[in-house]
């Protein structure tokens, strides 16, 4: 989809980069920002599918609060009355299934194309919030999903990856580089050899003073006992140990140079203004190495490190699935009624995603103009590159407001969408054969986080 302002920005950025950024530099800074009040955040979506529809209520965080994505980090607005009202006055109540998360319990309830819906929220403290009436607009079918192998360059959207812990691996940087090397090199270690290393490096911060392969000493499953013995050998007492922590160790993968670009073929509905949003979901299998799981101890000064290898028996294969965290929008302003092939996300081709198959589910949904503008504002935040040709960052304007206090800012959007979906496998065995193997010294289920689901059960659609 052509969004001229984005093209304009990319062109201008290129011009700027090309000509004069040779002397420019980016620096990360941490300025003191004005602190706003905590605000109600509403994530709500109603579709024309007979599924459970959710409304999630939470509260905003300060900008630099990186805890946003850790589970339950945002204080949920609990015990609110949440209802969906349609333009005929029908009311559907949503019930709180876990703190802040409300769901429809009416089996088979779905929105209908052409009807308008309103979200009503009455919070515990007596405030009433209502969205505007959002119309469920029709959506065309997806005719095909086309996959094209493209080189990854600055003109392509940044590679999608949903896990910040693993992101560096996929860019070729191993996590905890030196630890990974050490663990690799000394996987069947001679402990005394390592201690000799320790003697040489003694007193320097951050070095390995002990290596213990728990598998060889199955009877000594008490870490402190093992450690006490080791420490005694080294002249330390157990009180020197402050904490034990899991370490994630994985060598880096060759950075992906190519990606599979996902393009959606469909035909715009003629004679009306249409706005679409695509949601993409991927599922793929990973093989990991839980036998090499290790933990690390640190002493009080933070100067001494101990690594303990503690093999896990489960699980060396599991299936990860995630929603693509990128926003893909379409406005038929320039293409009304015509067939289109719209570029969406690009999946980097590397040994993580494409060790085996990659299963892609694409959902094409209709949205209102307000929702389009909301998501465009969100999207533009990610496009900013500091150029003076960037648009001024703008508020993503919600369609929800406080009935009694219209000046109160509510965050989030109640989207009402008709959806059509398309599912396909992505990948090419010839490409896959050339990829680095993904190595991760832990249970593959620990790759899961609030955005990635991990399951050791093979999905139905997975080939044998």
């Amino acid at each position: 989809m052509v969004r001229l302002s984005n093209i304009k920005i990319s062109i201008l950025s290129m011009g700027l980069l090309g000509t004069f950024l040779l002397t420019g530099c980016f620096k990360e800074i941490e300025p003191t920002l004005p602190l706003g009040d905590t605000k109600l955040v509403v994530e709500a979506r109603l579709t024309n599918e007979a599924v459970t529809h959710f409304v999630k209520l939470s509260e905003s965080q300060t900008f630099f609060d990186s805890a946003l994505f850790t589970p339950n980090s945002t204080s949920p607005a609990t015990e609110a009355l949440v209802e969906l009202v349609n333009d005929e006055g029908r009311i559907i109540r949503l019930f709180e299934s876990e703190p802040g998360l409300y769901e429809t319990q009416l089996l088979g309830f779905k929105g209908e194309v052409g009807k308008r819906y309103q979200l009503v929220i009455k919070t515990q403290d007596g405030k009433e919030y209502r969205s505007g009436f959002e119309r469920m607009n029709p959506v065309p079918e997806i005719e095909a999903v086309e996959i094209e192998k493209v080189p990854l360059s600055i003109n392509v959207e940044p590679p999608v990856f949903p896990n910040p812990v693993l992101n560096p691996i996929l860019n070729g940087q191993p996590i905890q580089n030196n630890w990974a090397e050490i663990v690799n090199a000394l996987f069947v270690p001679d402990i005394w050899e390592v201690l000799a290393v320790e003697d040489r490096l003694k007193g320097q911060p951050g070095f390995l003073i002990g290596w213990f392969n728990a598998a060889d000493n199955a009877q000594l499953n008490d870490e402190s006992e093992i450690m006490a013995g080791l420490l005694a050998d080294l002249g330390y007492t157990q009180q020197d140990i402050l904490s034990l922590a899991n370490i994630t160790i994985a060598p880096g993968l060759q950075p992906a140079t190519q990606g599979y670009e996902i393009k959606i073929r469909s035909t715009d509905l003629p004679g009306e203004r249409n706005y679409y949003k695509w949601n993409l979901k991927g599922t793929f299998a990973v093989d990991t190495n839980p036998q090499r799981f290790s933990r690390m101890g640190t002493n009080k000064q933070g100067a001494l490190r101990f690594v303990f290898n503690q093999p896990k028996s489960c699980c060396d294969q599991c299936w990860l699935s995630f929603e693509f965290p990128s926003i893909h929008l379409f406005n038929d302003r320039l293409t009304d009624g015509k067939p289109f092939l719209a570029k969406t996300a690009t999946i980097p081709i590397n040994g993580f995603f494409f060790d085996q198959n990659f299963y892609l589910e694409v959902e094409q949904s209709s949205v209102s103009l307000g929702a389009l503008k909301f998501f465009e504002a969100v999207n533009e935040q990610t496009l900013s590159n500091g150029s003076l040709f960037d648009s001024t960052p703008t508020t993503a304007i919600s369609n929800i407001s406080n009935v009694d206090n219209p000046d109160e800012q509510v965050l989030g959007y109640f989207t009402v969408s008709a959806v059509s979906t398309f599912k396909t496998f992505v990948g090419d065995p010839i490409d896959a054969a050339l990829l680095d193997e993904f190595t991760y010294f832990d249970d593959c289920q620990t790759l899961a986080n609030s955005l990635i689901n991990a399951s050791v059960e093979k999905p139905d659609f997975w080939p044998n």
């Binding site: 001229l4 003109n155 320039l334 504002a377």
Partner: protein
């Protein structure tokens, strides 16, 4: 009254006759003067000492010196001698003694010849002399070598507040009562020409100016009489000459006519590498940029890193930012007039230069000697080699180029009439990593006929045409491939008249403009493209204006200028106007109806009066207070949703939905000169308010938008500030220091949430930088070497910072609420340059000069922007500072002249 002026001229003429030796305080008188005429005694003193006396011969009649003096101080001697007579003396300086007598109400023409040997030119006919009636002096100022008319020459009638400036044809006119005057003709690059004139009745005085031998006495900001900042009624006007521009340290050696204005008080921009100027809190589109009468719609090369004017052909740049004369209209904040040089009338000359990014060549010479001349200049860039050096594949595969060309022809029919024709073209083109091409281009042309009618009326008739277009060819992916064109055509005719009647200087005229905008033509390219052909309807409109202004000198202390401009704008059919549901915010889905207009039918007409006024009260010879007011109306606006204007911003004219912006500015200033006008100081304050200022809604898509009005909102803007300037204009060391305090706020509210900006609260403009400090210094080290430097400091511009963060479907969203509520770090930078002349011979066939400049000498890591981004797929919030040009940037430029 008149008599006193004559005397005061004498005082000034004394400056030239000073020499070294005994000063009057050391002179002692010895002699027996028993009844000798005072005049003889004075002659004697003059012959023995460097002391010079100034008086009228008639005053000496019957004045005798009595008595005998022995080693008697001259001061006491003069007191003794004059004790009995009705005469006073002034010790003007160490060597000059001026006699003074209470004036008699008659004019004297029998003043002795000037001691400095100036020949007196007689203007008019003594038989036509009528006491008390002003005579009109007109003439042309030319370059003595080439006989080319020189515009912008400042003409100062010494010790009066009369003066004038030659127009673009070199014409001037002055109105003076009969008498003897000293008149100074002054222009940068020329030696000052001083004339002694005896005026009886109206007549002609043509003046030739000679090249200044070495520009030791070069003036930094000039084109103005020494004390014009105090004595003129006009305020808020500055002129930069080419000589000043050329010596300023320039980024990558490219002298930038437009950016040099940033060094003046009250002029700022959002950041380095951008074109737009913000004058006294006005947005970048509120400046009328005129190239020989034709407006320029985008002055940027390379996205704004350089301006499109080739400094070789630019004669001067004049910026009006307050008390804007009634002659100009159409923009709220300022008028920048770029005057081009005129071709040499006698022989062929060339100038040129080579810098790091571009080279220039200029040729000028006669077509018909003494009658017709041309000047042509071209400039071309070679940026590609820079791109190739950047270690990035996409950039290495990109190309960038720009060029521009200027031609000016000048023809003189007679002493009283002439014709000039100017043509200008500029072009920029970028090919990006893929096959995408973006380009933009300006074209401008004007023809001007100037004529002196009778003795007292100068008329200029100008026809101008201007065009701006850009195109984007995007071909990164065949499914999206498209071509987009944008085009503006502008045609205008104007007639301007100036006449002087007694103590009135009257300007009047009319202007008619026709606009034709093609706001967007979008076409798919190739069979795979899914784009539709979309053409936003063309827009036509006319703007007409009439103006009259009268500068009245009530008395030497008080003068004022009153002006009125009436302007009318009509958006013309054919056209379709969308009508929106009044109860809902405007957007494409709330359109309920449309109105059709036939060809030539007025879709909407706006009319408004624009009063202009300024007043000067002269406190004493060296200080004055001025007050200025102007109302301006602006009918076309640049629509931009980026921080700095881009070449792809579109101009939107007022129409059915968009009302013209109107701005009122009130300014007050105090002006004072020190050390014989060598040092000028001024403080000016202003307050400006704008109605119907335009901003865009959050998330507006501005290109090829048929419902553009639905994405625009209008509100109020308010700006105020104080500008302090201290300036030394002449001498080996010259320059200025200025400090500006300025604030600019916008306020855009609506009953609909989506049509409010900043939740309907007042917010600072993108370019609101309260404190701005500038030092500009030029120093002539030796005949061969000169040094220039400038330093600027300004408060960091405001940016919008997020106040909180939340997540939607796993995507981190920053909540940007308060528009421009946060500031980037303060900015400061020092630039220096050295220029050396390679040939100082008097009879040179080839003059070359090298300019070595360093931009950002101390490698200040200035923040270009601060921005907030969620990284790692929108999960980790981060703030970044981007610095560009963060190191010292040396450059070398070679300029030559033959």
């Amino acid at each position: 009254m008149i008599k006193r002026f004559v005397l005061l001229f004498l005082i000034f003429s004394g400056i030239a006759s000073t020499s070294f030796g005994q000063s009057y305080s050391e002179v002692r008188i010895t002699g027996d003067y028993n009844g000798r005429p005072l005049r003889d005694v004075l002659f004697e003193i003059e012959s023995d000492t460097p002391i010079r006396f100034y008086y009228l011969t008639e005053w000496m009649r019957g004045l005798n010196v009595q008595g005998r003096y022995e080693d008697y101080p001259l001061t006491s001697f003069m007191e003794d001698v004059l004790a009995d007579y009705d005469l006073d003396i002034i010790f003007y300086d160490d060597y000059t003694i001026v006699f003074k007598k209470e004036p008699v109400n008659t004019v004297r023409f029998d003043v002795p010849d000037d001691a400095s040997g100036l020949i007196t030119e007689v203007i008019g006919d003594s038989s036509k002399y009528i006491a008390g009636r002003n005579a009109k002096i007109t003439g042309t100022v030319r370059d003595a070598n080439s006989e080319v008319a020189v515009s912008g020459v400042n003409i100062e009638v010494e010790d009066t507040d009369k003066g004038s400036v030659t127009n673009s044809g070199g014409f001037y006119s002055l109105s003076l009562p009969g008498g003897i005057y000293y008149v100074k003709f002054d222009h940068i690059g020329y030696g000052e020409e001083r004339k002694r004139i005896k005026v009886f009745s109206s007549g002609r005085l043509d003046v030739d100016l000679f090249d200044a031998p070495y520009e030791l006495e070069e003036v930094t900001i000039t084109g103005e009489a020494a004390d014009i900042n105090v004595t003129s009624t006009q305020m808020g006007v500055t002129q930069l000459s080419q000589n000043t521009l050329n010596k300023m340290p320039a980024f990558m050696g490219e002298v930038d006519v437009v950016k040099s204005l940033l060094l003046l008080p009250g002029v700022t921009s959002v950041g380095e590498g951008t074109t737009g100027l913000n004058v006294r809190g006005g947005s970048a589109d509120q400046n009328l940029l005129l190239l020989e009468g034709a407006p320029i719609f985008n002055s940027s090369h390379v996205f704004g890193f350089f301006s499109i004017f080739n400094s070789d052909v630019v004669n001067d740049v004049t910026l009006y930012r307050g008390g804007i004369p009634a002659k100009y209209g159409g923009r709220l904040s300022s008028v920048m007039e770029i005057g081009l040089k005129e071709g040499d009338q006698e022989e062929l000359h060339g100038t040129g230069g080579a810098g790091l990014v571009a080279s220039r060549l200029t040729l000028q010479g006669p077509i018909a000697k003494g009658k017709t001349s041309f000047i042509f200049s071209g400039r071309g860039s070679y940026l590609n080699y820079i791109l190739k050096r950047i270690d990035h594949k996409d950039i290495q595969n990109s190309t960038a180029s720009f060029w521009d060309a200027t031609l000016k022809l000048d023809h003189r029919f007679s002493q009283k009439s002439r014709l000039t024709a100017t043509g200008y073209v500029s072009d920029d083109e970028f090919t990006l990593g893929s096959d995408s091409v973006i380009s933009w281009s300006n074209k401008a042309a004007s023809i001007k006929y100037s004529k002196i009618f009778g003795e007292n009326l100068i008329g200029d008739f100008t026809a101008a045409y201007s065009n701006y277009e850009f195109s984007i060819f995007f071909d990164e992916r065949p499914e999206e491939a498209f071509n987009m064109f944008y085009d503006i055509d502008y045609a205008s005719f104007r007639a301007d008249f100036t006449t002087n009647r007694n103590n009135h200087k009257i300007d009047f005229g009319l202007q008619s403009i026709f606009y034709h905008f093609q706001p967007g033509d979008f076409r798919p390219v190739g069979s795979l493209s899914s784009s539709n052909t979309i053409k936003v309807d063309n827009e036509r409109s006319i703007e007409n204006a009439l103006y009259l202004s009268d500068e009245i000198e009530l008395n030497p202390k008080l003068s004022f200028m009153l002006g009125l401009r009436g302007s009318m704008f009509s958006a013309l059919g054919p056209g379709v106007v969308s009508i929106y549901d009044e109860t809902l915010p405007r957007d494409p889905t709330t359109q309920v109806d449309s109105l059709q207009f036939g060809s030539g039918e007025a879709i909407e007409t706006y009319f408004g009066l624009e009063p202009r006024a300024s007043l000067r009260y002269q406190i004493d010879d060296v200080s004055s207070v001025k007050l200025g007011y102007n109302r301006m109306r602006q009918y076309i606006n640049l629509i931009s949703n980026t921080t700095a204007p881009t070449p792809f911003d579109i101009w939107q004219s007022s129409n059915f939905h968009i009302k013209p912006q109107t701005g009122d500015q009130l300014s007050l200033g105090y002006f004072r000169n020190f050390l014989d006008n060598q040092i000028e100081a001024s403080i000016e304050g202003y307050y400006k308010s704008t109605d119907f200022a335009i901003d865009y809604k959050d998330g507006a898509d501005l290109l090829v938008n048929r419902n553009l009005e639905a994405d625009l909102v209008q509100g109020d803007a308010e700006a105020f500030g104080v500008e302090v300037l201290l300036q030394k204009r002449s001498g080996r060391l010259n320059g200025w220091a200025s400090y500006t305090y300025s604030r600019t706020f916008l306020h855009i509210d609506s009953e609909f949430r989506s049509e409010r900006v900043n939740l309907g609260n007042r917010y600072p403009a993108n370019f609101d930088k309260p404190h701005d400090l500038t030092f500009v210094m030029n120093y002539q080290i030796s005949r061969r070497w000169s040094f220039a430097s400038n330093f600027t400091y300004s408060t960091g511009r405001p940016v919008t910072a997020p106040e909180s963060r939340y997540s939607i479907n796993g995507i981190g969203v920053s909540n940007f609420v308060e528009r421009n509520g946060f500031r980037i770090p303060d900015y400061h930078r020092l630039d220096i340059s050295f220029t050396t002349e390679t040939n100082l011979k008097k009879d040179k066939k080839w003059e070359g000069s090298w300019t070595f400049a360093i931009y950002n000498v101390y490698s200040r890591d200035n923040a270009y922007s601060v921005f907030f981004k969620n990284q790692d797929n929108n999960r980790i919030p981060k703030a970044f500072k981007l610095s560009i040009l963060a190191r010292a940037f040396p450059s070398v430029t070679y300029n030559f002249k033959f």
